[in-house]
Each structure stands twice: as C-alpha cells, then as structure tokens.
C-alpha cells in the first residue's frame, strides 16, 4: 500500500506536487493518470525517496521509504528504463543492482529468463532496443520480489505483444496481493489494465476511486440509434428521455437498448442501428482534465494550413 498525505514539492517557483493525498491499495493495479507536467514522475520520485517533499508524507506499507532496510525487497520501482550505463551488459547491470540489497545472483538469471533477455544478457545495454530496455527495467524492479511496485510508463516502446505481456504481468502481480502503481499515457491500455485510478492535474488530485466509477462519470452515455422513422420513434419514447441528434443518428439516454428496440418495433420504426455507447476512459479523462492541462497547444490543427 502507498499512502500519500498532503504531499507537496516545489522546484523553484513551480509547485510540481500540491497537497496531494491518495492511497494505492494492495492487491489492485492502480493507474496513475494526468496530463504532461501534472507531477506524476515527481510523485513517484517522492515515493522512493529520490527527492524530499517540502511538506507532507508518503508511506509505503506504513513506513517512509528511507527507513526501509533493503528497500528493493519491499519496493520495486521502474521510473525510467534509460537509467543504465550503455556500455555495460544487461546481466552486469542487474548483478550490481542485486548486490546492493544482498539479492542472490540466481535471481538475476531467473528474471532475465522471465523477461526474455537471457540470450542478450552479455550484450551492452546501449545496443538494446527500446522494448528490451523496458524489459530490463522491469526485471530490475522485480529483483527483490517486492510487495509494492511502481512503474512509470512501462509500455513505452513495447510492441502489442509486449504490452499484452505487461498487462498480464501486472494483473498477476496484483492478484498475488502486491500493490501495483502504474502511470501511463496510453488510455486504452490503462483502461484494460487498471482497477483503481488516481488522476492528477497541475500537481493536485482530481480523482481517486475505481476505474468503473470514473468511466461512469463520463457525459457520453446512452444508446446510438439510426432510424428513417425518427418521428415515430420519438413519439414512442416518452418520459425521462434525452434525445440528441448527432451525425445523422440520435443518442438516446435514459432508456436501455432493449427497451428502445421493443418500443421501436411496437411503433413500426425501422432501426438501422442500435448500439449502446459505453463511457470511455478517454472521454472521462479528457472531460475531467480539460482545465488542468499544463502544456496545451494554443492553435488547433485546422488553423495551421499552408
């Protein structure tokens, strides 16, 4: 479990993290979302004691990181896969890291097998592809068999197969009771991976709760209906129904698709399309963080014409 309380960190005049309070529960994959510059990486660095907060605390299983003996055995963090010497071999990189916390070398070999890098263990890391470096970083995070895991953008540079593999890995780690805290920009991927969400913007907490609740908040609900007999259908749909027109179709909210189908049939209205619109993580996220985007482009693409 990761508990942050009123966490605050400023670099000069910029407050990167502002009174941030959240909890990442164990046994769950908690997604950490936010626009660029929201303070996600700073928060993760504060969790592992690389930076000191100006105010507030962050505890890992009830203890500040710096008080952990052999911290790699409690917290495995991959904050940036590029934190490695390009001239050193992959296996040597893991070897020295394992030695810092007294982790035996067999574990290094185990993990190289797990992430699929055994065949290139002697190759200099500078020659690794981006995906291979990500996998090495993940191996490094798992060295100490930790109860708490933090990943900052773990699927960067991975092919679809790699992304699916990570997703499965994160789920199985969480299923084992570990705390898994993942930040990412890839919303479709996050939607499939995370069960809980912490959303921040401009250093502040915007949302904390489950993924399902978050998605349910999106404005786009309802059922998309296309019919040549719009008037008949409208007449048939009485009561608390919202009816908005869009792209040659209607979005009906307040009634489920089964009911609409039945009513349309009774009213003799032909339906060309009847599809429920599920809220999407992307829509919910964009709606919520619209105000909090730090670095937005001022010009929309259509204005930049040759």
């Amino acid at each position: 479990m990761i508990e942050a309380t009123a966490l605050t960190k400023a670099y000069g005049a910029t407050t990167a993290v502002n009174e941030l309070t959240f909890t990442a529960r164990s046994g769950r994959v908690t997604g950490f979302l936010g626009p660029n510059g929201a303070g996600k990486s700073t928060t993760m660095r504060l969790v592992v004691g690389l930076d000191s907060p100006d105010a507030g605390t962050v505890l890992v299983d009830g203890v500040p990181y710096r008080e952990l003996k052999d911290p790699l055995r409690t917290v495995g963090a991959m904050l940036d896969a590029t934190w490695r010497h390009p001239g050193r071999g992959g296996r040597d990189h893991l070897r020295w890291l394992a030695a810092t916390n007294g982790i035996p070398e067999q574990r290094v070999d185990q993990l190289l097998e797990l992430v699929g890098l055994k065949s290139v263990e002697k190759t200099r890391v500078g020659r690794y592809s981006l995906g291979m470096q990500q996998r090495l970083g993940i191996a490094a995070a798992l060295l100490g068999d930790p109860r708490v895991l933090l990943f900052d953008e773990p699927v960067n540079g991975l092919d679809p197969e790699g992304m699916a593999w990570i997703r499965q890995l994160l789920h199985s780690l969480a299923a084992e009771g570990r705390t898994v805290f993942v930040s990412s920009h890839l919303l479709p991927e996050m939607a499939q991976t995370a069960q809980d969400l912490v959303v921040i913007g401009r250093g502040r907490l915007i949302y904390q709760g489950t993924m399902d609740d978050f998605v349910a908040r999106t404005s786009r609900h309802g059922v998309r209906v296309r019919t040549p007999h719009a008037d008949e259908l409208r007449a048939a749909l009485t009561g608390q129904v919202e009816f908005t027109e869009e792209d040659g179709a209607f979005v009906v909210s307040g009634v489920d698709s089964d009911r609409i189908g039945q009513l349309a049939f009774d009213a003799g209205a032909t339906l060309h399309e009847l599809s429920p619109i599920a809220g999407s993580l992307e829509q919910a996220y964009l709606d919520l963080t619209r105000e909090a985007v730090e670095f937005s482009s001022a010009v929309s693409p259509s204005e930049v014409t040759p």
Partner: protein, 250 residues
C-alpha cells in the same frame, strides 16, 4: 560489505576504467624508459627520477578514472537507481571511494615498481637500489598517493557531477595550478608550501635534491606528516561531498 562488491562490479564491467589503468601504467613505465634512455651514460639516474612519469602524469590519469567512476553514474542516472537501493546514500558513496581508492593503490604499486624495475634493467650501473626509507617511500608510496588522489577525485566528481567539468578541474589543478601559484608575489611560496599535491610530493621525494626528476618539495612537513596531511585533505573533501549528496535531490 555488499556495497564494496557492488562498486567492484560497476568498476570492472565497463571499458573506460580498464583503459585509464592501462594508460596510467604506460605513462609511468614509459617515462621511466625515456629518462633511462636519454640520460647520459656519465650521469646517474636517481630513484625519484624513475617515478617522474607516475607522480606527475600517472596521478592525473588515475584521478580521471576516479572522477569518471562517479560522474558517469550521474550522467546515465544509475546514481538514482543506486540511491533507490541505498536510500541513506553515504554508504554507497563511501564504498565507491574505498573501491576506487584500493584499485588506485594497486595501480600505483604496479606503476611505481614497473617504472623502477624497467629503469634498473636499462641502467644496471646507476645505483638504483632501494636503500633508504625515502627510496621505498618514493616507489612503494606512489600507490598511497594514487589512492588518496583517487578519493579526492571521487569527492570532486560527486560535487560537480559533470564529467567534463570535473576532469577539467582536476587536470588543470594537478598539472598547472600548484606550480603557477608560486608566481604570486610575496605570498605565493607560502601558499605553495601547503598545497596538497606539493605536500604529497614531499612524502614521495623528501628533501633530497633530485637528479633528473621532479624538483624537491618545499613543504615544511616531514614525509610522514606530509602523507597524513594529504590523506586528511582528501578525506575532508569526501566528507563534504557526502553531505552535499545526501541533501540534494538525487
């Protein structure tokens, strides 16, 4: 203990420390060969002259090796991974200074005895036997001077973090600054008497005038105290560096 193994692995699994080591030994032994070859057959080569390459230039390369051991960690951010693993930070940095210091000690012994040995082979008639204590200090002591110079360089590397900056500072200092300080009128010589590498030289060559090697040191300390002074300065620098590294954001 683990941390010493960590630093040993880090040092030996990249290429530049090996190259620096090679260059150090080559410079020391090479200079001895040049001096041995170039000295007139009527002149006599002295023990301290054989150590000229090592004590003047080998030191500089060892300090580059030591500084790089730290600054490349900052450059490639492995220092952050290290601090994740060792949140108290100082133990890891001290272990690094110890390992780099020990490696430099060994390098210094190889360089010192290698240079001396080659000179003996090339000029067997020149009375190069290690008879006095000062002779032994000159050759075997090179390792000690290398070791503490390395610790000093590690401290500078921690404070500056930037490879090019740290190396430039160390090289310019060792090769030029101390000599140039003597040019300052009135106080130059006084300051020079207490500058660290000048004092280290006192430990190595004592007060005997050299033949064709480096000039004797003007430090008022005895050779034994000179070593203690030099060691003390390097340790003070390290302690300051540790304090800075602990408080800074990683």
């Amino acid at each position: 203990m683990n941390l010493l193994a960590v630093e040993r692995i880090k040092l030996f699994t990249t290429r530049s420390p090996w190259w620096c080591a090679l260059i150090t030994i080559a410079l020391s032994v090479g200079f001895a060969a040049i001096l041995a070859g170039a000295t007139e057959s009527t002149d006599s080569l002295t023990v301290s002259a054989t150590q000229f390459g090592g004590s003047q230039f080998g030191i500089a390369v060892v300090m580059v090796l030591a500084a790089l051991a730290v600054t490349t960690e900052y450059r490639f951010n492995t220092i952050r991974t290290t601090f994740q693993a060792v949140p108290h930070r100082s133990p890891a940095l001290v272990a690094k200074a110890v390992v780099v210091g020990l490696v430099s000690l060994i390098l210094g012994e190889i360089a010192g005895f290698g240079a001396w040995g080659l000179a003996v082979l090339m000029r067997p008639n020149d009375n190069l036997a290690l008879t006095t204590g000062q002779d032994w200090a000159n050759v075997a002591g090179l390792g000690l001077v290398f070791a503490f110079s390395a610790v000093l360089a590690v401290a500078v590397g921690i404070m500056i973090r930037h490879s090019a900056g740290a190396i430039a500072l160390l090289l310019i200092y060792t090769l030029a600054v101390e000599s140039l300080v003597q040019l300052i009128p009135k106080i130059g010589n006084h300051i020079h008497e207490w500058m660290p590498f000048n004092v280290a030289n006192k430990f190595l060559v004592g007060s005997t005038p050299a033949g064709n090697g480096p000039p004797p040191s003007d430090s008022p300390l005895s050779p034994g105290w000179a070593l203690a002074y030099f060691a003390g300065i390097s340790i003070v620098f390290l302690l300051v560096a540790l304090g800075v590294a602990k408080k800074r954001d990683a």
